[in-house]
Amino acid sequence: MDALDLARWQFGITTVYHFILVPLTIGLTPLVALMQTFWYRTGKEHWLKLTKFFGKLLIINFALGVATGIVQEFQFGMNWSEYSRMVGDVFGAPLAIEALAAFFLESVFLGLWIFGWNRIPKGLHLAAIWCAAIGVNLSAYWILVANSFMQHPVGAEFNPDTGRAELVNFAALITNPTAVSAFMHVITAAFLTAGTFVTGIAIWWMVRSVRKGDHAQALTVWRPALLFGLVTVIASGLAVGGTGHHQAQLMFEQQPMKMASAEALCETTAGAPFSILTIGRLGSNNCGDTTPILELPGVTSFLATNTFTAELPGVLDLQEEKTELYADQFGTDVEYVPNLMVTYWSFRLMIGFAGFSAALALALLWYLRKDKVLGMPWLATLGLIAIPAPFLANSFGWIFTEMGRQPWVVHPNPASPVDFVYMLTQDGVSTVVSPGTVLASMIGFTLLYGALGVVWYLLMARYTREGVDNRANQMPPSATGAELPMSFVY
């Protein structure tokens, strides 16, 4: 492997890892804030218990999300210095604003929230978690503004004298329709993730309480948590579907190659089907070699255009078109088709895993209808199995959208495909960093992330198993004898 492949692998590994943690933080922080709001408004004890229980899990998760996020801010310069030079005038601004307007908010106020129990007035304490919740959601918007510039550059011009992209319209940059659409999809997916997390844990604990004979806890604590989680899953599940459909239409306009690659559609087709299963040598990007087994007719066309009969261009025609368009600059042997096996399967796995989590919610609603609490062990198991599903859907979604953009690091805007801002990934990589150095740092990050991932999982599992009535969620007894002990988190 050369430095380019290694740098891509490193970016993929560190980013997918980071984004396992991030959606849970984005979704769970507002959910915990809501739980605390319910407690603040009603004074009901179970909402306080749930706030502390899920708050602990949030903090464990937040720590690793913050830690792995620092790498993201620096690795553009480290591994992608030529990309950074080319787009820094445009791309740097949303990153800087993300830190200023969002990271400060979430970090300072989460610190205030964690250490502020019993120390600051209740209303202020509640405001702190809401500020943190706003901060994490704002950060998603700014980073998606940056990413959307790579998907669909707007608000900038190419300066041939310097060879750089230059920002000319900040308002256009931050209202990029790609960013707005991606934000809606990512945020609803984050709520689906956090909702499934709450639902899975609540049903597991409800069954556990019932089987331990603690009906009271199952009824007064876990049933409200379960209903809260279910409402979140169903609302966000529907919204994920809707926003995904909107994003697909935008993608079809802006990146038709990515849309065709999602279906591995080789030939231009009217009424393109959505295949559920395909066998053959997709990985070879060899179009003659695949056999779709099960197809839903017209569905890919519908996803892309809202009509079942629309004509979708296939990757072969698109390859021909791009080769001609960029022959002067890049020659005629550039492969403009992304890795079809990756795009085809990641697209399906994204939809499949998200659907799994929504299906679980519907099943649970069905059972909750007749019973006030549930004690079937298989439901507890199902709840736990469901938790990773949206996490996987998130990862596959990003793998699809980033791999589907290849070979571009900045995809050309179709409104102006040749005299505007675009860049091939191979031209963005740092030139002074040797393959050995990238390999060493990639191994270093992978081992470190792997080890920390094990600790993260153990702590999350341990604190989940501890439940709401144990020491983990109670204030420590005051050592000074004061009525309200200060909370010592460390």
Partner: protein
């Protein structure tokens, strides 16, 4: 004033914010195994920085992001050229956050000791490496102007070549380690150590406070001496501006005053003066650099200037509006959290029961 100069100053301000604030976080971490005598005292020490370390660290992310936005060439050249040093810093920052946040989650002694050991290492290494990195900026690095195909542009042809060629730090990691830059590492490490000791003396009470104050009095002459040698050497050998004498003198006077105030146990003043000294030292580094952002030690013509590295005036204008609106708000609410958690902590307030759950159930 030109906007690029304003942004040069703003970047300096962001680094000052980072190094002053995370300086004492690092200092507390560097001392964690040595100054606190037992678990109770260690918990007191960790709780003094507990509510603040994360907000403090965001100054680094903002400095990084702002450098990217305002000086893309600086960001690209520095971060790719200092790759291994940055990689080490990143690994350490990740480990330190994990040690801070996950240590108290399990009430097992071995678990805590292991995280504390990691915490100490992950505070020392970046404390030294930041100094090495900044000293490199002052001293100059193995920077050349290189075409995409790898050919080095001759020094007299740089001006015409920059449309296609770019500044690259081609020396690699070991070219960054010289006697001067290693001294820079000693400077930041000693400044942060002193800062950590002063902070602990300011924020705790009882025996720990007295030992911290004693240690601060012992450390402050060391950081004064290291900083004085480093800055004088740099000013004489490398600085591009005589104006840089000004912050140098401020830093020296403040550090000398810290030697006195730490002896007199005036913790508040020590903290303020030490922070001003760190700020003045960073200001000295930036003034010694100006008008370059990355001077070359190979040929002056290869040095990356402020003008070459800068974003377009439009981007700088947008970013100026954003920064001048948001930064004061950030400073206000961050300062407010310091006010809320202003009380001194003592071992008497720490409950006897350890925080966290038992390890035996961790499966």
């Amino acid at each position: 004033m030109e906007l690029s100069t304003l942004w040069f100053i703003l970047i300096a301000v962001l680094w000052i914010g980072y190094l002053v604030l995370e300086g004492f976080d690092f200092g507390v971490g560097m001392l964690l195994k040595y100054l606190p005598r037992d678990e109770q005292e260690r918990r007191v020490a960790l709780n003094t920085i507990g509510p603040h370390w994360d907000g403090n660290e965001v100054w680094l992310l903002t400095a990084g992001g702002a450098t990217f936005a305002a000086f893309p060439e600086w960001y690209a050249t520095m971060f790719s050229g200092m790759y291994i040093a940055l990689f080490l810093i990143l690994v350490m920052l990740i480990l330190r956050i994990s040690a801070l946040e996950w240590r108290p989650k399990v009430s097992d002694l071995a678990w805590r000791n292991r995280w504390d050991a990691i915490h100490v290492v992950s505070a020392w290494v970046p404390a030294v490496l930041w100094g090495v990195a900044f000293a490199n900026l002052v001293q100059g690095m193995r920077i050349e102007v290189v075409e995409r195909d790898g050919t080095v542009v001759p020094p007299d042809a740089v001006a015409d070549a920059l449309g296609t060629a770019s500044h690259q730090l081609t020396g690699g990691f070991f070219s960054l380690l010289t006697p001067y830059t290693l001294l820079g590492g000693v400077v930041t490490a000693s400044l942060f150590l002193t800062s950590g000791a002063i902070f602990l003396a300011l924020k705790t009470d009882g025996d720990l406070r007295h030992r911290a104050a004693r240690l601060a009095a012992t450390l402050s002459p060391i950081s004064l001496a290291a900083t004085a040698v480093f800055a004088l050497w740099g000013q004489v050998a490398f600085a591009r501006s005589a104006l840089a004498w000004l912050p140098l003198l401020v830093a020296a006077l403040c550090l000398a005053a810290v030697v006195v105030t730490t002896r007199q146990r005036r913790e508040g003043w020590s903290f303020v003066l030490n922070s001003v000294a760190i700020a003045a030292a960073v200001a000295w580094i930036f003034m010694a650099l100006y008008p370059y952002v990355m001077p070359s030690s190979i040929d002056e013509a290869y040095s990356l200037t402020l003008a070459q590295a800068s974003s377009t005036p439009y981007t700088l204008r947008v970013m100026t509006i954003v920064a001048l609106t948001i930064v004061p708000v950030v400073i206000a609410y961050q300062a407010y959290t310091y006010w809320i958690f202003r009380r001194r902590l003592t071992t008497k307030q720490i409950p006897a029961e350890p925080a966290g759950l038992e390890l035996s159930e961790l499966r």
